[in-house]
């Protein structure tokens, strides 16, 4: 490790004098890896991937479909059909590996970028677009797919996840690694600086809550690099809170699956929280409103392209599992079909009516708000028949 460690940092220093370590080249990063960027399976002393090649083909398919959905959403934004889109490009393995490690009773608390996890949980991708098109705020029922609403205030959902996990404890839903329940909280390297995330770590630790903190360290919080958030590897923070932390190659779907599964099992059996740092890279902009050319080097991007999460699985399947080009072509065709459906669904989303939204502020509507609704409806109706 090239990072400063506690004890080597002078006690008093002006911030600009602080020894700033450059962003790590990923060759120097120690993490759990089970499939190299070249598509070679490798062994790790603590983690192994126990599923067969059919499962790996499934992961490949998931990642391709999710990337295609993401690409289509970006295109829809560029064409004015979405107000904004937060791309997951480059983070497919982190999301599919962890998402596929979930059991049907596990609960997910996502950020606004977990399109891959949403896909694993069976959330209709069209529902994700509602938020970005501005027709609703998400508004799927979290109970339908055990997938909470996207949370935009970063880190807030880690506390929700921890509280939910405390509910699982109180319901005696843990205690068995297979049939028990766990909760997984997604967040990013930027959110790791939030008070809420640190409070969630404390809560989960002292209550031994069955929650997995899954941090996708994609190196960038909009324009701020990881060294503005931390001086030690993020996963090492877990030790200070009293639970295990592990860093995994976030672009290796076999490793993210294996590491997530072990952490989830640990939670389900009642052994408490784990912090997983999935070391990855945000290949796209923060959102479609962002311009990463202003703050990062193109050569970094080119470097990470060589570590693409999908390409390495394709290399493995081609070379070691005898999968032919026809199979890959079929996946691409399936992806295009899903993208076309997504586009059609997006364009046919009905425009929302403000009148309806008055009814959702409270469970028990207030007289004042009912009156405002009535007044607004009458006002809006007074324009009926007039052209815009």
């Amino acid at each position: 490790m090239s990072e400063s460690v506690p004890g080597t940092v002078p006690e008093v220093f002006a911030p600009h004098e602080a020894p700033v370590s450059p962003p790590q080249a990923s060759e120097e990063v120690e993490f759990v890896q089970l499939l190299t960027p070249e598509g070679e399976r490798v062994k790790h002393p603590d983690y192994s991937f126990d599923l067969d090649d059919e499962a790996i083909k499934g992961f490949y398919r998931d990642m391709v479909l999710v990337r295609r959905i993401d690409t289509e959403a970006t295109a829809l934004q560029r064409q004015g059909e979405l107000g904004i889109w937060a791309s997951l490009l480059g983070q497919e393995a982190a999301q599919i590996g962890s998402g596929r490690a979930l059991n049907s009773k596990d609960m997910v608390f996502p950020t606004y970028r977990e399109h891959g996890v949403a896909f694993c949980q069976g959330v209709d991708p069209l529902r994700l677009l509602g938020l970005f098109r501005g027709v609703d705020q998400g508004a799927w029922d979290p109970r339908d797919n055990n997938f909470h609403l996207y949370t935009i205030v970063i880190g807030a959902q880690t506390l929700h996840a921890t509280g939910y996990a405390m509910g699982q404890q109180r319901d005696h839903a843990i205690g068995d690694a297979e049939n028990g329940e766990a909760t997984i909280a997604y967040f990013g390297d930027g959110a790791s600086s939030q008070g809420d995330v640190n409070e969630a770590f404390i809560w989960a630790s002292v209550f031994n809550a069955p929650v997995v903190f899954f941090c996708q360290n994609n190196q960038w919080a909009i324009s701020e690099p990881i060294d503005r958030q931390t001086r030690i590897p993020l996963y090492q923070r877990a030790a200070g809170f009293g639970f295990p932390g592990v860093r995994v190659d976030g672009n290796d779907v076999l490793a993210t699956y294996a590491v997530s599964q072990q952490a989830l099992k640990r939670a389900r059996e009642g052994s408490g929280p784990t912090l997983v740092e999935a070391y990855t890279y945000r290949m796209g902009a923060h959102t479609t409103s962002d311009d990463p050319t202003k703050y990062r080097l193109n050569e970094d991007l080119e470097h990470w392209k060589l570590k693409d999460p999908i390409a390495r699985v394709r290399a493995y399947l081609t070379r070691s599992a005898g999968v032919d080009a026809e199979w890959f072509d079929q996946i691409d065709a399936d992806a295009d079909k899903i993208a076309a459906e997504l586009r059609a669904g997006c364009l046919s989303m009905p425009d929302p009516s403000l009148t309806d939204f008055f009814d959702h502020v409270y469970v028990e509507q207030t007289a004042q708000l009912a009156e405002q609704k009535q007044q607004y409806a009458a006002y809006a109706a007074s324009f009926e028949g007039e052209g815009h």
């Binding site: 929700h160 409070e199 404390i202």
Partner: protein
Amino acid sequence: MAKISLGKGINMGLRAAMEADPKVVVMGEDIGKLGGVFRVTEGLQKDFGEDRVIDTPLAESGIIGTAVGLALRGYRPVCEIQFDGFVFPAYDQIINQVAKMHYRSLGKIKMPVVIRIPFGGGIGAVEHHSESPESLFAHVAGLKVVSCGDPVDAYWMIQQAIASDDPVVFFEPKRRYHEKAELDESVPPALPLHQSKVIREGTDATLFCWGPMVKTCVQAAEAAVEDGRQLEVVDLRTISPLDLPAIFASVKKTRRAVVVHEAPFTLGPGAELAARITEECFYHLEAPVLRVAGFDMPYPPSRMEEEYLPDLDRVLDVVDRVMEY
């Protein structure tokens, strides 16, 4: 029939709610063995266990944030914020998460969370322990805001707040925790949570108040009798939503309104009351709606708080103004 204090009323109400519904959990700092710094949760952990009466780490955002998660899981958390000024680390979770969850899910998620906040001054405390931030919550769509002014209301209103499927910020008048009244638990509550009550009938002007100012206003009304004035006192009980029919009915009767609160003057709840009353009762009014409030300064050091807080004399002074208009 037993005489109980306001604090005991809340304690008994919490107990009744916990007995009635196993999903009710109480959480906060020092609420377990200690029973809370005001002893409002005294004895609850002993009887309901540590899983339902949760001593939390000292982090308010964590209290509310985990309460959100518990509510999503089907629980009905009752969170104690130790003092008014300590609620602000949790403000993000309250405003962005608790208040909006039902709305942003188009009604699919309910947030039956109660946030108990001992509020107001008059106990000689150090800073951040005497504030009245009602407006900062009443302004937020998705929250409901109430305050109890007497022990009987304390007992029933906390139970009604816990039964509410909407989030409720429950302001407890900390300097009235030891006020006593007789409670007959077998008599059902006279009012639903979001209705106001006339504490004292009058004909010349109405004093609108809640929480700690209820007692102050009743004392003022009693003193005003010596001046030949019959003041009506309305305990709002609910600040969001306002019980407008009750407010308008009283003003149309007395034709004069004074709003009394400890919260700072500018954009305090009195501003909204004045606007509403003016709009609805314009032709009934003999005088503009006047306000008695805390000053537009941070809560002062406690040796000055008696000057800062609205008291009987300041209320009567403004009553003089509203009568002489």
